[in-house]
């Protein structure tokens, strides 16, 4: 254990840390988390992997399962519906999350000061995050209807034509993204606000008195200091957005056509509509592989823990 510990390269606190490291091992700290995650997350993943090698009709009892090796995977790659859902899912992530970040950051910067009612605003801002996803989906579906939907009433009132949001592929896709942004940007806001609150105000005030304008302060001080928090927000949002299901399901059921059939919705359809658990497990494993590649190449290179430390705690 000791031999495998890397030499710390940080200038500050290194000596003490190393001494401290000598007095303890990370295992007791990591073990409980590992136990829970192994029991309830990794076992099902391995199980899914095994299932993905079988032609496994969910409902047909034990006798009709047969080993097909990688057959499910090759079926998957030939399935245009699968690629469609993957593309929609990626589009969803790349459109929704940057917007959520921008909104969240903007609001965090704005509200990072004391004023009357500030606390209430910050708390109320979070309400959409607490909103039950199914109900949120339903409420949006309702608001987007022609004639009695609130959003269309608004459009009509300001002289624009009614839009049948959920009836056209493009607008329906926009609608589910809108719903997600509406519901989740306050989440980003809260994380960034907590991070921002950690930046000493003297630092900012000093810069302000020095005559640094806002953009200079933002890019030179705030963003670098906020980097670890932004990164976390980004990662947490991505893993949640990858799993989005119930709100989209009640809003559009994946329609019109396949226009909003995101990855999870397609998995659901394959598993519980077509009853092909083997195939849906193959989809899960495929996603897992993508995630691992993503984590190893992109995330690890640009956002490793060491870098986090340099940016965040090192100065």
């Amino acid at each position: 254990m000791k031999s495998s510990r890397r030499q710390a390269t940080k200038p500050s606190g290194v000596v003490a840390l190393q001494r401290a490291g000598g007095r303890g091992s990370p295992v007791p700290f990591l073990l409980p988390a590992l136990l829970i995650v192994f029991a309830v997350l990794i076992f099902p993943i391995l199980f899914s992997f095994v299932v993905s090698l079988f032609d496994w009709p969910l409902s047909a009892g034990g006798g009709e399962r047969s080993f097909v090796g990688l057959g499910n995977y090759s079926e998957l790659f030939r399935d245009p519906g699968f690629w469609n859902s993957l593309l929609l899912q990626l589009g969803f992530i790349f459109i929704a999350i940057p917007l959520e970040l921008v909104l969240g950051l903007g609001a965090a910067l704005l509200l990072n000061r004391e004023f009357r009612g500030g606390r209430v605003i910050r708390a109320l801002m979070l309400l959409p995050v607490f909103f039950l996803p199914v109900v949120s989906g339903m409420t949006w579906r309702f608001m987007l209807q022609p004639r009695y939907g609130a959003l269309n009433n608004l459009l009509v009132n300001i002289g624009l034509p009614e839009i049948t949001w959920l009836a056209n592929a493009g607008t329906a896709y926009a609608a589910i993204i809108m719903q997600d942004i509406w519901r989740m940007w306050p989440f980003v806001f809260m994380l960034l606000y907590a991070g921002l609150a950690g930046i000493p105000t003297e630092l900012l005030e000093a810069a302000e008195i020095d005559g640094a304008n806002f953009s200079k302060r933002l890019f030179k001080i705030i963003l670098p200091l906020l980097y670890p928090t932004i990164l976390t927000a980004l990662l947490l949002r991505i893993i949640d957005a990858l799993r989005i299901f119930s709100e989209v399901y009640v809003m559009t059921e994946g329609g019109p056509g396949m226009a909003t059939t995101l990855f999870s919705l397609y998995t659901h359809r394959i598993a519980f509509g077509h009853m092909k658990v083997g195939l849906s497990s193959a989809m899960a494993i495929f996603l897992l592989i993508i995630s691992i590649v993503f984590a190893i190449t992109l995330v690890r290179k640009n956002m490793s823990l060491e870098q986090l430390e340099e940016r965040g705690g090192g100065q």
């Binding site: 606190g13 003490a16 840390l17 007095r23 303890g24 990370p26 700290f29 990591l30 409980p32 988390a33 590992l34 995650v37 309830v40 997350l41 990794i42 099902p44 199980f47 899914s48 299932v51 704005l110 000061r113 004023f115 009612g117 606390r119 605003i121 708390a123 109320l124 309400l127 607490f130 039950l132 109900v135 949120s136 339903m138 309702f142 009695y148 809260m190 994380l191 907590a194 950690g198 930046i199 906020l226 670890p228 928090t229 976390t232 947490l236 893993i239 799993r243 299901f245 990855f263 998995t267 598993a271 658990v277 497990s281 899960a284 996603l287 897992l288 984590a295 823990l305 965040g312 705690g313």
Partner: protein, 279 residues
């Protein structure tokens, strides 16, 4: 010079407050609709009538409150969310500390594998979980669903806490070390208090994740441990929708989380103003 600066600041702050309230109004509009519709009859909601005071009625709330299944589910939800939050914040903060303050081989790999495993849609894990839970006899129990919720909350909490832990100044540890603290004491006495805002944020979101979770609850619970999202979704129904009751029930569900956050926010501010954490 300084006077004008502070005056300018005041004006800016006032403008920002107004702006913030405007954004807030826009943002909360859908929730406002839900709140309002909980007090209106279904037909009024569906026909898109303009608001007037005569529409208000408590009937939906009466029906929701008389629905024993929903009340029981609400209680279950509360229990599961609290338990799972406790477990995942406890376990997750330990792991986050282990990851951010020890250097060992595979540290990055470990950290990111927590993340990667959480990326999988629950859809693909739930069948396996169901078989496993049935095998060991914890299907449809509070314990089982708490465990299931912890499985996705633990990685979440770990990743939420890492930046907070990383940001804790190492000088504090050195000082503690000099005073003869061991790792556990440092964790308890130095890290937990210093990263309090992070812990609060993590707790809030772990709570929400569990409170709103749908698919695991659907498959892994039955009559006994059913949680509120499942009970509400039956009000949405496949065929006929009881809008009023759905809105009333979701308002009922929204209230405790909101109170929870308000209470936590106070704590959050205190944690931040206590200083110690720097960017």
């Amino acid at each position: 010079m300084i006077l004008t600066l502070s005056r300018r600041k005041k004006i800016i702050t006032a403008a920002i407050a107004v702006f913030a309230f405007a954004i807030l109004a826009l943002e909360l509009y859908p929730i406002f609709i839900t709140l309002l519709n909980g007090f209106r009859r279904d037909i009024v909601i569906l026909s898109g009538q303009d608001f007037n005071l005569k529409q208000l009625t408590l009937r939906s709330y009466e029906m929701v409150m008389a629905n024993k299944g929903f009340i029981k589910a609400l209680f279950n939800s509360m229990l599961v969310a609290l338990l799972s939050t406790g477990v995942s914040v406890g376990v997750g903060s330990m792991a986050a500390y282990g990851i951010s303050r020890f250097r060992f081989r595979g540290r990055n790999a470990l950290a990111y594998s927590f993340l990667v495993f959480r990326m999988l849609p629950q859809m693909s894990l739930v069948v396996a979980l169901y078989l496993m839970f049935r095998g060991i006899g914890i299907r449809d129990t509070i314990f089982g669903i708490t465990l299931a919720h912890s499985s996705f909350n633990v990685p979440y909490v770990i990743w939420m806490l890492i930046p907070f832990f990383v940001a804790v100044d190492k000088a504090y540890e050195e000082a503690a070390m000099v005073d003869g603290c061991n790792r556990w004491m440092i964790f308890r006495l130095v890290f937990l208090p210093l990263a309090a805002p992070g812990l609060v944020v993590a707790a809030v979101f772990a709570f929400i994740n569990s409170w709103n979770e749908f698919l695991y609850a659907l498959i892994l619970t039955g009559v006994n441990a059913r949680t509120a999202p499942i009970a509400i979704s039956s009000m949405i129904g496949g065929d006929t929708l009881t809008w009023g009751q759905m809105c009333a029930a979701s308002t009922v569900m929204l209230t405790p989380v909101f109170i929870f956050t308000l209470a936590m926010q106070k704590f959050l501010i205190r944690g931040v103003s206590a200083g110690g954490v720097k960017g």
